[in-house]
Symmetry: C2
Subunit: 241 residues, 2 copies
Amino acid sequence: MSSAPGWANVNERRNLPPALAVSTVILGIREGQDGGPDKLCLPLVRRIRQPHAGLWALPGGPVDARESLGQAAGRNLAETTGLRPSYLEQLYTFGDIDRSPTHRLVTIAYFALLNADQVGATVQDENVAWFDIDDPSIAQLAFDHRKIVDYALWRLRNKTEYGQIAHRLLGERFTLAALRGVYEAILGRRLDPANFRRTLKNTATIEETDEYLAGGQHRPPRLYRYVGHGPDPLEVDPTQA
Amino acid sequence: MSSAPGWANVNERRNLPPALAVSTVILGIREGQDGGPDKLCLPLVRRIRQPHAGLWALPGGPVDARESLGQAAGRNLAETTGLRPSYLEQLYTFGDIDRSPTHRLVTIAYFALLNADQVGATVQDENVAWFDIDDPSIAQLAFDHRKIVDYALWRLRNKTEYGQIAHRLLGERFTLAALRGVYEAILGRRLDPANFRRTLKNTATIEETDEYLAGGQHRPPRLYRYVGHGPDPLEVDPTQA
DNA sequence: GATACTTAATGTCAGAATGACTCTAACGAA
DNA sequence: TTCGTTAGAGTCATTCTGACATTAAGTATC
């Protein structure tokens, strides 16, 4: 939305058809500092034009007439942040009349997940930065984007099938401890390692490999793999977008 | 969408900004015939203009620049069917490039529930009719509306908090048997009456009244009331819409 | 009025799932 | 070799769940 051509810069509200945009809440996982719990984090872009110039905002932009909504989300994401997430899901469409001070704007919000490798490989500059989800400096965002972020977190916490989501935040293979860290970051509380292991072993969407993670300080943990079933009926395939 | 003014009737795809519309899947409950289970049903409108003239479609229409999306859904609903549902929730936004043969159309789908009284008071005419959810004559609908209906049903079945939804499909007070009928219609299977009673009594969002339903054939059942808590973060208040 | 029939409502019991906890295994560091 | 830490398995009491039996309370029929 920071680089949004094609929208009339009207300072007066007119009876024009609503402009259509997409914005994406991108969530990744960051390892906890000195023994602390893992944390969810997200990249934001700084707005370089009015309205709300200088404020942090969700990456996004207008919907082109020749692309689907999911494609628009993926394209805007790549253009503004260089990221290509492994998971993309439509979140909600925000269309209150006065959510933008300059024009009537309907935004289709998307929800993306990045695995640890992708988070580490992200370039940050003056206008793109990562924030912890509870960083007080992003308590206020441009437009109603703070509301959108809160809704994304609410949706994430209320997912019934965590396996799929957790594995998108990690790589292809992962330890049970790493997976537990993801769960703890999402739920915001510690989980019993033994019970967590037991329940996941019964879940059947996670299977053990013959590999172990070497190089750690202690007993090397076994690596596991996600063997998920089909997606939700309307989940976006980001490889097409 | 059957009475949709304001859209250019272009037969050729042009690079215009996408048109914005709302459509609503309205679900109600209908008592089962001769001992059979209750059934979910929905009203559809017949399209009277191209494209897809003559086919059944979801009620809906364009979004006016001076109304919010929820308001647009409620207004279009009242205009096309005369219904004012007690529950309205945004479902999903459909924006594939070729979902309409004549123009680029982005539709924000809503999901509404009617209680039994409202279903009974509905007028049907040549262009508005109710169908059982499994009626084979609505296997095909205009545009991608069949996909939208299927997604609404999927969402309904995957709701974690049924209490709220169930009570919107019934009146203010209801028997546990009626509530069980709603659950059975949604889930598509019979439930054990005794176990159903036990789990609901532990749910705490349903409390018993001192009244009983008289006039039945057998022992009169106690009436219950829903004492739900706050709504989802983004649930639409249809009294404002 | 007695009996049968149907539904309402409660109770019982075994198996599954869950939370708190203990114990052993396997590595690196000292 | 010993210690500290994490991996991983096991125990036990409690709760939840499905299947089923039992009693209560009304109407319909004879």
